[in-house]
Subunit: 406 residues, 2 copies
Amino acid sequence: MLTVKTSSEAEEIIFDTFGQIKMNTEDVEILSSVGRILAIDIVSTENVPSFNRSTVDGFAVKAQNTFGCSDSIPAILNFKGEVLMGEAPTFEIGKDECAYVPTGGELPAGADAMVMIEYSENYGDGTRAMLKPSAPGQHVTFIGDDVKVGQAVLHKGTKLAARHIGVLAALGYDKVPVYKKPVISVISTGDELVDVTESPKGAEVRDINSFTICAALEELGCEYRKIGIVKDNLPLLESVMTKAFSESDMVIVSGGSSVGVKDSTFKVLDKIGEVLFHGIAIKPGKPTILGNVNGKPGFGLPGHPLAAYYVFNLFVKPLIKNMTGANNTDLYNKKNANLTLSIPCNHGREECMGIKMKNENGRTMAEPVYAKSGLISVLSDSDGYIRIARDCEGLSQDEEVEIELF
Amino acid sequence: MLTVKTSSEAEEIIFDTFGQIKMNTEDVEILSSVGRILAIDIVSTENVPSFNRSTVDGFAVKAQNTFGCSDSIPAILNFKGEVLMGEAPTFEIGKDECAYVPTGGELPAGADAMVMIEYSENYGDGTRAMLKPSAPGQHVTFIGDDVKVGQAVLHKGTKLAARHIGVLAALGYDKVPVYKKPVISVISTGDELVDVTESPKGAEVRDINSFTICAALEELGCEYRKIGIVKDNLPLLESVMTKAFSESDMVIVSGGSSVGVKDSTFKVLDKIGEVLFHGIAIKPGKPTILGNVNGKPGFGLPGHPLAAYYVFNLFVKPLIKNMTGANNTDLYNKKNANLTLSIPCNHGREECMGIKMKNENGRTMAEPVYAKSGLISVLSDSDGYIRIARDCEGLSQDEEVEIELF
């Protein structure tokens, strides 16, 4: 029998075996790329702005022609004309000349500053009076001030959010190269399981894991195939799993992985592929299996819904992120806070503990969620979890911990 | 002319006028409810578990029959039978009796504890030897231990994530009541704008705001209608906006809101509805308009992409969250960190400053993103922003700030 691995050994095996798997790329419409993972570095081929742009409504001037002017001694400049929004000026600004330019409009050649319209007067004689001096560059964004040709503005692996979509639009990407979504099949095994639409009879329970795992896959930007419940029947499970591996990039089976009489997931993975480990020394989640079937990862998660979800978060999610190339998602998923309660020593096994975030007197605090049974109440009460190392001798009240948000 | 409002005055007007708008509800398939906002409190109508469940593979016993047993003095119990997974036991456990129960299986009546199979021996004579005592309740989850009938497990307004989907599945919700997605029309105005597919000529620029705002609406769970670019032509804008209001719950127009010659958004909102304010004392984002058209909110955002996105985040997003009832999203959107640099006084106007999160020696730090022009580089470099109050006299290096993540 395979020995139980520590979580870091398990992580190492997962990445040593499957770390090279990367999804292919595809081009999608820019607005369909929200939440997808960018597959290339975006390097600007344009200067932004592409012209010297005014940031105010007012007059384009040579700055030096306004030096020293004031309300009482205005600088009188010859009005050369008006620049229309979006149009290139057809004239230049010479000495003691000015031109009206709206916010966002282009400065005529020769001008190097703007005077806001509030600080001008129209004498009606073909001149405009400037009542306040402008320094060179004032109220002007010069060509390339924002982004220069050749500048990398977005990096491969970025999970695209609204602000990135704006950057892509600015640079003319109507189609965006992103990584394809991994296709992942999800199976629940167990004779006790009934579908969500059914009322459990006797000691039956509803299939929870198919839903939690498929929803988590959706959140991670995967395409899930919910195969649903497969009864604990070895030939049936083998045929379903074999088909699933042929049709997807990864197969996740929950249930059936306890070292008991009905150790079906292990047996199937062992038969159609190679079992890499069976058991991780972590609580909850010990009966976790990793198999390699024709180079594709197959996970056997515990049947217990909370344990399955922890194992998914700890071991499956990092591999999926690696497959899709995502590298900027931690920002939203980790949070530090101080414990509201002490947590006693965990008896030499790494442990996950559900955490509810609470606001106490303006401080964000982390409250451990204790539950005799973690079937679903911990899932509904916890915002995330902490990992307690196996050699930890307990955590004190008010100690700062790093929470992985669900 | 309408006076400029402070941001808190603007928020008050927004919520006083539109705070009562709530989306209707609809039922969606459970796996389609990921990311949607739950429209009811979920109160359990079942006990979970619905039977006394074993958490181990082993023997159901009366705990008192194992008291004092050990390797050398085992408790010899009569083997009553095996409980099959998912099936209700057909027999009871009496004094000095035991039955095999798998993990997740139901304890027979009369049993109040489990002994793990590792601590038993089969003598082959119809008895089993227990080598370790169990306390009452050991390795057992009793009826309702996890969730009791009448217990509220999820609350109205929860943005549904994987863990909530698991809870809903456990309780049999194959359909989930959620708030309908608000339908929001997005318009960009300005003669300088060209579509993302075009190459800007002269002083033209690509329409960025349509994309940033539509993507942000998608992230917020709205249904967006990207109307795109409308040239700065009053009758045309009026007809487009009138149609947009009739077909959506909110209309967002960007550009055309400066107090300049082409103040089209203001004029249209003033004509087809009522303008509630024109200008917020915040940098960037001053030329922001709010209109009320037949009870529906119409926002005029600045044309400047960064300013438009700040104003969207500051003033539009909270109203949308309120319309959809979302109440648990802040957890992922706010983060505290210490500044890497001082930020000088902001001259009496509330200011938004882009922030890049950096990891310095294991500490998460907040780096202000300074940019002469914030057209797109601030969007690509910032992970979020801080709000600097108008009476703030500057922020010191290493001072803790609250970042709103984009």
